[in-house]
């Protein structure tokens, strides 16, 4: 019995269709995963289903909930449909909470609007649901403001908010994106638990095939505003029919696969770090605390080597990146470059939000040669270099005239890489480069980084929380935890590591252990 049916749903804007003729239905009790890259129309589908399209977009066709047309519901009925028929979980951000209301008030507002529940009863119910979301101290969290909670907490609360009205259909739009892997895992567990206990229907939207593989009964593949494949989850891996689906599994193998074996491990040491320590002072007027960010960290990087550094947020990854890039001085320890202490310009750094590292008023062409401009290189020379480097990182030549604000996240990453090549970087520190990229863009970046290493001999330090990407790209990986190097080795060595922390990181990789495909997954 179908709970949700889409019948030739089309969403049109001024510049053409965003979603074209979407037809599918979801059965009661099913977990359907909608998968696709950025701009494929996934989130817009969710918004159309809920009738909350942005201004200027029009929906045609029909969406039916239990056979009833959503677009033609009277206001009252529609409110019930939104609150009690469906529940929605958005991607984590502060943005989904009212910043001046406590968590408790977010719950009680819904109870008052949808259930007519007020006062003590509503409070009790709010605490109950906060507790159900696996939060250990519901009373404290209930009194907190959204900005006082961590990303993982906020996602738990979002799920609790949606579940607290006991909806039949839960829509989760990228619920785990940009979270640490262990928290992603916990959020997915929570969704599974909800399903098991209520028998409800789940529509999960994601760009991550790992997440999809872990959750899906059924896969809906979106590409360019169209539904290109709709079938049982297993079929996508064993017998993909559409080009987009094949590309998806291909990208998945790149992201989740093993790196091609290194041509002769390069023994020449580029960078040696020994006994590096760093601490920050935090706290207010009265209580100052020293927080150790790095504790006696030692590592080495050979020339032309791609080395990974993985760990959870707050583990000291970013601090290490800043020290290596020479942005901050270390408290103790030594960094030696080619065996000397000279601080090299040849170490460059790509920020996790590359768009932020560009002056928004400069064109891409000028940005690529930014370092040369500071060195006094002549303009014609700079322009020539810029043209060459743009093609080197796979950007079309007309990009030179565009501003970073006009480029996509992936293009900005490429631009940032090109900028470091312009100053002949020998080592590039990549700080969470994939955090805001979808899976196919990640796969393309992995191929680019490998090819740059092969052609230019550049070494990379790849800093990430995403263990899969590190396994796919790096020849050696350091695992960092609470400012200390916890484990170290090649991907194969780490996969077999006895270290409990490495093991726990590996356990949280989404899609791991679900035997849907036997030829994907590389080491994992």
């Amino acid at each position: 019995m179908a709970i949700l049916e889409l019948d030739r749903l089309t969403v049109a804007g001024d510049r053409g269709d965003i979603i074209t003729g979407l037809t599918f239905s979801i059965d009661e009790g099913e977990t359907a995963v909608m998968i696709g890259g950025s701009g494929s129309g996934k989130s817009m589908t969710a918004r159309a289903v809920l009738g909350i399209l942005p201004d200027g977009l029009r929906a045609s066709g029909d969406v039916r909930f239990h056979g009833e047309s959503v677009f033609h519901m009277p206001t009252e009925r529609r409110r019930t449909y939104l609150g009690r028929g469906t529940g929605i979980v958005f991607q984590d951000s502060f943005g989904t909470f009212d910043p001046i209301r406590t968590i408790r008030q977010h719950f009680t507002e819904l109870f008052s609007v949808h259930l007519g529940l007020k006062g003590k009863d509503a409070d009790r119910r709010a605490l109950y649901w906060i507790g159900r979301a696996g939060i250990l101290d519901p009373v404290r969290v209930a009194a907190a403001y959204p900005h006082e909670l961590s990303g993982g907490m906020r996602q738990r609360i979002q799920i609790a908010l949606a579940a607290s009205l006991e909806p039949e259909l839960l829509i989760a739009d990228e619920p785990t994106t940009a979270l640490d892997l262990n928290i992603q895992d916990a959020i997915l567990e929570l969704l599974k638990e909800w399903k098991k206990e209520t028998g409800g229907t789940l529509l999960l939207i994601t760009h991550d095939l790992g997440v999809a593989r872990e959750m899906a009964d059924r896969m809906l593949v979106m590409d360019n505003g169209r539904l290109v494949e709709d079938g049982p989850a297993r079929q996508l891996f064993t017998a993909p029919r559409s080009r987009a689906a094949m590309q998806l599994t291909d990208d998945w193998r790149t992201v989740g696969g093993a790196p091609p074996a290194d041509k002769a491990a390069s023994p020449s040491h580029l960078l040696d770090v020994s006994g590096l320590s760093m601490s920050y002072r935090t706290g207010g007027l009265f209580k100052k605390r020293e927080v150790r960010a790095l504790d006696e960290v030692s590592l080495s990087i050979g020339s032309g080597e791609i080395v990974g550094l993985i760990g959870e947020s707050g583990g000291g990854k970013s601090t290490l990146a800043r020290l290596l890039a020479g942005i901050e001085p270390a408290r103790a320890g030594a960094i030696s470059w080619h065996g000397t202490r000279n601080w090299p310009d040849a170490v460059q750094w790509v920020h996790q939000d590359p768009a932020a590292s560009f002056n928004p008023g400069w064109t891409a062409g000028r940005l690529v040669a930014e370092g040369l401009e500071y060195r006094g290189t002549r303009r014609t020379e700079r322009e020539r270099t810029a043209r060459h480097l743009l093609s080197e990182v796979g950007l079309p030549s007309e990009t030179a005239q565009q501003y970073p604000g006009e480029l996509s996240g992936g293009m900005n990453q490429r631009l940032a890489l090109a900028r470091t090549l312009a100053v002949s970087a020998e080592l590039v520190v990549l700080d969470e480069p994939f955090a805001s990229l979808d899976m196919s863009t990640q796969a393309k970046m992995i191929r680019l980084i490998r090819s740059l290493r092969d052609r230019e001999g550049t070494a990379f330090l790849f800093i990430t929380h995403d263990i899969r990407a590190a396994f796919a790209l790096c020849s050696r990986i350091y695992v960092i935890r609470q400012g200390q190097i916890e484990d170290h080795g090649s991907p194969a060595e780490l996969a077999a590591s006895e270290n409990p922390y490495t093991k726990s990181l590996l356990e949280h990789v989404p899609g791991r252990g679900v035997d849907l495909c036997n030829n994907g997954g590389g080491v994992l």
Partner: protein
Amino acid sequence: MKIKHVIFSPAAVGLFLLALLSAAAPLLAGVDPAEVRMDRILQPPGSGHPLGTDELGRDVWSRLLYGGRVSLAVGFLAMALSISVGMILGTISGLAGGFIDRLIMRTSDMLLSIPSILLMIGLQAIAPAGLLSVILVIGLTGWMLITRVIRTEIRAIRKETYMLAAKKLGAGPVRRFISHLLPRCLPSIIVLAAGSAGHAILAEATLSFLGLGIPQTIPSWGNMLTGAQGYLMSGAWWLAVFPGLCIALTIYFIHVLGDRLQAGPRCPSARKEQNPHGHSGA
């Protein structure tokens, strides 16, 4: 929006025409603005005087043209003073931080807590009367908001990742200031300048109207209105209406131009608007 859309906007053209009329005053006036004709006092518009005469028989049209010179010049110079002081203090405050920053900010808070006209009439009461002191008083009491905006801007830009990136790519402090800080502040400075010019013209008019501004011997739009209230009762409406219209029109054009500039010529949106709800979207 291109720069030419700002320059050829109706507001800019109107402002330019007003300035042109004032500049060409000797050609257009026909009559000496200071010529007193007691036989022709308070003549209504028409009758040889297109906009009538005032209580001393002086030609209103002529005084309006010459007054425009004074009002516009005072406005422009006072604005230039405010902007210079505001930029310098704002930059110092933003770059220095610490005690200097706090001192500048609290001083500007303090000056903002004194109602602006009280501050100006207080200063005017102890300053020698004259054109220069009007410019100084208006200019020196109008820098506080400019300082604050520039400071905020500089502090925000300093924290931007691209400043860090520039440093990493080898740009020294002077280079970073010239290549990144200054150009990024420029749009706000232009918008602030428009607002400041409007404020200065209004302040001149108000001070002169109250009898604390430009001395009566030099015509300005503001001091043409000084005696106008008394004659309003006896029906001489033209004394009050025309100079006031000129002031209002000028300030209106300046504000519209300022709004244009705010939306106006700068690089395409600083950063793409982040869609908090996921990857895909329009």
